[in-house]
Subunit: 416 residues, 2 copies
């Protein structure tokens, strides 16, 4: 089953916003066995909308359109669809009641343009948008499904999850798809592929294996398609176990979660707390953890100790250590981690100190040199990493490496 | 002048990566007066590449293709272009020498697939890729320009900036374009438009005004097109001044910089230092500042004090204050800011404490309630914000509001 995504509006074309919607939709559609054939970003012009829609229908069965449904004159999507499908606009009473209620709740006056948001092409299926005022519209046209929805991410995501994906599954009687992720680290994609080549080759044709590499990790994804969900689950479990057994020491987790969330879950389950001492990552790792609801049960806080003075006063790093070994050293990283552990009173602490670049490198310690330490009541371990020259990549890779060190330590300490 | 962007590869379609390249390219092309008509993401299939290329040439003069140039068999872009333009592949000696040198520097063995990267369609203009092994290829075809370049962001960005954009400007004898940004905050887009309606209407036809709203700010952008750069600069300065005078108290800056970078520059110029005390933003604001090279001259560090215990021990917030007013209160925010100022020994300190959600809200303090304080030797000021229900949005909006408070304080203290 093929789908296409059409995003409407100038914001993406002029680079004002990055199109994160389409990637999210791609992931969700893949999960139910729908492959995205093309993503097309176009301007808010009737002619362009129609030609994109016609091209898309030549290639795919499902066309998902986001954006272009705002109340202003610029947004011509709805009137264009109304003309294209030959369905005159009519006021949808249920939508109007919803829009009215929406404005009442916000305690804001409703203007004529907002009433117009309740008009829909006569003949489409209207899907109420609980998170906004623009309704979602579902069209069936020569056996193809065309859905128009708002581009605001939290409106689009809720509509996709709660309304559109279940309807697609029902409408096309989609087969079951079972996915299983295996997150690995420490082995490059091609080496990993070599190690499990025979397992991959022996997979039945209805089970696919994908390699998704990112920042020093490779996520393996098994996807099985069929009519019997119970059988699929068993089959996938069997092949997952074979892979995990084979590359055991590189397997990080087999859940479909961001790494930091998996760590939070593991620590929360065991009642453990965490603090951070960040230098070159400058708060990025703290942000990764704290973006997740409920992180405060584990993450107590940390110090973003950019300056040497703060490494001393906040974390208790010794002046002699900094003078003798420098801020980017095994000794400083270890003292930072131990300082965080004690001063922030947590079960585990991570310290990261390095040269993110582009300045600050030397022959002994070039840009990309990073020391990471993990401390717990069992002591402290520090490790040297050598990344590359790009500042933001160095920040991201340092955070990832730090999580990996913590995770391996937790696995060892908890024997999981 | 119209351009289209075609991205090739499954990574975007399956949602493995977000297409940040196209937004960046859209911004850069706009700066030289090239409008992006469509962005198309397609899979790595010859037929699909050719149809997308043909469609794009019907609409635009410049087609920029990214991705699909890796050394593996999956990447069919080069061979497809070779067939499409009827230019057989030949080995490019200069590229081969470059690739060889690249591998020597990395001290890695070169395999057959890497040699193939030095093959190019006979007749295209080869543009050397200093940052990678896949060369950039420039085709001229029935008056249209088609450029194929790697999708790796730092290879693509350097090729666009140093090679492709200058060549486009030369090839099409593009007019001069002068841009001027005016970042405003505190006034919604429609109210702002109302305030400057007469100025906008009086703009000559070769000067356009765009409204780019984001997170409580509106960026105004004046773009003037013409043959006389000096005259354009004078004209744009004239209209910029008119707008700035009219909405003076909402104008934040008139440079084309991220807000946090403008703050860093201003503070650096005056030799001022900054520290942060972050609770609900959890390190996000520290990360915003520290992603910029050279931030360490201003940003000394901060505390990510998620727990109440750390608010006390790291920042010196009084236990009675937390007990009496709660962690999300004017009093706690003020003590956090003053604590950071003293403990981290900086000229300015920002504190942010709030309920990011989705949990932790109450009737008195619903999710989205945030207190922000700015402290300096002149004292401390705190302000209450009420954002909405989305955790990540609350984090981003809090960071933005905190920067605004600091900026206004700096403007006042420095009389700038």
């Amino acid at each position: 089953m093929l789908a296409e995504i059409i995003t409407i509006g100038d914001e993406i074309l002029i680079g004002q916003i990055v199109d994160t919607n389409s990637a999210w939709m791609g992931v969700e559609l893949n999960k139910i066995g729908v492959k995205v054939k093309q993503i097309t970003s176009i301007s808010d012009e009737a002619e362009h909308i129609i030609s994109a829609l016609e091209e898309a229908q030549k290639r795919a069965d499902i066309i998902l359109i986001t954006g272009g449904l705002g109340p202003t004159k610029d947004d011509v999507t709805k009137i264009t669809l109304s003309k294209y499908f030959n369905m005159p606009l009519k006021l949808d009473e249920a939508t109007l009641a919803h829009v009215k209620q929406f404005f009442e709740k916000l305690n804001r006056p409703m203007i004529e343009a907002n009433v117009k948001q309740a008009e829909v092409p006569d003949g489409c299926t209207v899907i109420m948008n609980k998170n906004g005022t623009a309704p979602c519209m579902w069209f069936e046209h020569h056996g193809k499904i065309i859905v128009s929805m708002p581009g605001v991410p939290f409106e689009m995501k809720y509509l996709m999850t709660d309304e559109i994906i279940p309807r697609i599954q029902q409408r096309f009687q989609m087969p079951f798809i079972v996915h299983q992720n295996i997150l690995t680290a420490g082995l490059g994609e091609s080496f990993l592929a070599e190690q499990i080549a025979d397992i991959e080759e022996a997979l039945p044709s209805h089970i696919k294996l994908a390699y998704l590499p990112k920042l020093g990790q490779v996520r393996l994804r098994l996807s099985a398609t069929g009519d019997n969900e119970v059988a699929l689950l068993a089959e996938v479990a069997f092949h997952t176990n074979r892979i995990v057994e084979r590359v055991d020491k590189y397997v990080v987790l087999t859940e479909d979660l961001p790494f930091e969330k998996a760590i939070l879950n593991l620590m929360s389950k065991h009642g453990l707390t965490l603090s951070l001492a960040e230098s070159c990552t400058g708060g990025y790792l703290s942000h990764l953890f704290t973006q997740h609801p409920g992180s405060s049960a584990v993450f107590q806080g940390g110090g973003v100790t950019y300056s040497n003075a703060l490494k001393q006063s906040v974390l208790g790093v010794k002046e002699e250590t900094l003078a003798k070994f420098g801020a980017v050293s095994e000794q400083t990283a270890s003292e930072m981690a131990l300082g965080a552990l004690v001063n922030f009173n947590t079960d585990y602490a991570i310290a990261i100190t390095g040269i993110a670049g582009p300045d600050g490198g030397s022959e002994q310690k070039p840009v990309g040199t990073v020391w990471i330490a993990v401390a717990s009541k069992n002591g402290v371990k520090a490790k040297l990493y050598q990344f590359a020259s790009q500042r933001l990549q160095n920040i991201e890779r340092s955070a990832m490496a730090a999580m990996m060190m913590l995770f391996l330590q937790l696995k060892q300490d908890l024997s999981v």
